[in-house]
Symmetry: C2
Subunit: 356 residues, 2 copies
């Protein structure tokens, strides 16, 4: 395993964006982390370099067979200028789970966290501080062998790039409208749904595009077998509050196990709010709605943290939830979780790691 | 639509490989075709250039969200030095079908065929002529926008690269052993199975790897819903000859519609050999085997053309087909189809296009 990181600092520093100009994932910092894999050397040549284009043969496998994995997490800058990461070890665990499914060699999670911390500390000045902003961290692995055969690549590149990002919703936390997808399928058990790999997102674009035309911002995926059970939303897991109990689809082999999802479950338990992971049919949710006991619904994910859902479109009907307003539990979860992440709330779970 | 192709010839010519050294997809010719897409200009800047690496930001969408499509076809050089393409218009049709599913802008198939012919004619000397060899043509499209959001890219690159390839099986046509997959899933209806996109191949690697460990060269996919109905093999469609009748799974939304598959069906009809496209359960195939009426099985695809199947591993049992030998129909199809492709058999179907 590599233990040494070669650092080459950029001679120029780019201009940093104004906080109010920040979008998601459009601007990148001055440096990036790169590490290569070969069968002979394993993961090697770990280095931090100026952020710059990479050069690959058009025959590189990444352009042909989609053997890619990635992660997404955030760094936050506190009012007293500390830099905090939120549960990076969970992302490394999941990266290795994705690697395993995609036949990509395992990484040393602890080492990659060290690299990531080093990189974030070098580009620390890029971390915005205004409400709702953060530094998005994108580790990803691409296959680089020059070969057109369908087989796992022999060579890979792991890279980490950083992007200062604005508040996911410009006006703060704000309910979204979701289209319940009944034609396209995201994943099935035995497929790649539980891995964070490019193909899952590529296959989701079409449904997303069609939902957007109808005025919905994301789709809710149902299971690929019976199109009956709730799975997840675009890039978020989903929760419902029904009659005082919070429920979320259980981990079933086809949904992505979100770090936010896991954190939310722990927080609810800590607050003694009933929470259950189980198989949930969309009919069940609809019935609860009709009976007037579907109290809240929200998505959870690194990008938006908590995204309250104000409306579902299901079987030609608009289900309006909590009068289209953010529910109390959603709000409390959002405030507490973002508070822990930003260092303004006590970190009772030990989730936050400081970047020195 | 672009109508003009800018040509820049390479100043150096690489050394061509000896025919006996040829593998699949490892060596590339002197030139490539490139064309860009932007919302303002559509597909534009069509050009033939020296084959060389491409330079992309690490934030390019191709490294993150798998929004890629590709095609594969071959050019053959005849004994009287003509260059022939096999049904390129079918590949362009399928490329647009893949584009549609992946939210990639449509291409002008006729124009891309012109470009492809021009490119092949420039690198004509690279086309090997010995038995079983050909020039593999790989058109592919990648998303190039620098953006980490999950949305269709606004910018793309279409490229065509060429690779002289050897006989798929070094010893000529030769039966393979196939593992019937009962755990992993390739695709379901509503997913991307009918499109030629990277993610489908990435998701197949794990099953492939596990089958290889057990001594099987490829896997036979069953449907993702019931794991009961036959779909296709790695990168081939599949046919069975049962009691004198040839059957192949019908197009169902989850299998790739192979150009070879389509050609085989037409050839069988022309010969008055009974052929049917239908839903086929693996149990049905197994029963036919037990009754002694499973006479032949073979895969079909551009790379291997016809690949006879000598054995299936299914439910802990080895099903040996036709004593592990190539069947008569498989052989006749292989000889006739490769003959048409190489110009030694009469092209009664009008499948072959000459590159002038
Ligand atoms: C498909 C999918 N589901 C769920 C999530 C939420 O996961 P996390 O909370 O770890 O960000 C994400 C985003 O990362 C995702 O892409
Ligand atoms: C998944 C899959 N099925 C079937 C085929 C066969 O298609 P074709 O005959 O057009 O090569 C291919 C190869 O291209 C493939 O990748």
């Amino acid at each position: 395993m590599t233990t040494n990181i070669q650092i080459t600092l950029s001679e120029e520093r780019k201009e940093k964006p104004q906080p109010e100009q920040l979008e998601f994932g459009r601007i990148f910092t001055d440096h990036m982390f790169v590490m290569d894999y070969s069968p002979q050397k394993g993961w090697h040549d770990a280095r931090i370099e100026p952020f710059e284009p990479i050069t690959l043969s058009p025959a590189s496998m990444v352009f042909h067979y989609g053997q890619t994995v990635f992660e997404g997490l955030k760094a936050y800058r506190t009012s007293d200028d500390k830099v905090l990461l939120f549960r990076p070890e969970k992302n490394m665990e999941r990266l290795n789970l994705s690697n395993e499914r995609l036949c990509i060699p395992e990484i040393d999670g602890e080492f990659v966290i060290e690299a990531l911390k080093k990189l974030v500390s070098i580009d620390k000045e890029w971390i915005p501080t205004t409400e709702g902003t953060s530094l998005y961290i994108r580790p990803f692995i691409i296959p680089t062998e020059y070969y057109l055969g369908v087989a796992p690549s022999k060579f890979y590149k792991l890279m980490i790039i950083l992007s200062p990002v604005g508040s996911y919703y410009k006006e703060g936390i704000h309910p979204v409208k979701i289209f319940v997808e009944n034609q396209y399928v995201r994943a099935v058990d035995g497929g790649t749904g539980k891995a964070k790999t490019g193909g899952n997102y590529a296959s989701s674009l079409k449904a997303q595009e069609e939902a957007a035309k109808k005025g919905y911002s994301q789709v809710l995926w149902l299971d690929g077998i019976e199109k009956k059970y709730v799975e997840e939303v675009g890039s978020m897991n989903i929760f419902f509050k029904i009659n005082g109990e919070v429920v979320t689809p259980e981990i079933n082999g086809s949904i992505l196990e979100g770090v936010t999802r896991n954190s939310i479950i722990q927080m609810l338990k800590y607050w003694n709010i009933p929470v259950k992971e189980k198989r949930i049919s969309m009919e069940e949710v609809y019935d609860a709605y009709k009976e007037g006991v579907l109290e809240e619904a929200f998505g959870t994910g690194t990008a938006a943290v908590i995204s309250p859902i104000g409306e579902f479109y299901y079987k030609e009907e608009k289900m309006i939830i909590n009068k289209g307003q953010t529910g109390d539990v959603s709000k409390k979860l959002y405030d507490t979780l973002t508070g822990i992440q930003k260092g303004t709330e006590e970190d009772v779970f030990g989730w936050v790691t400081e970047v020195k």
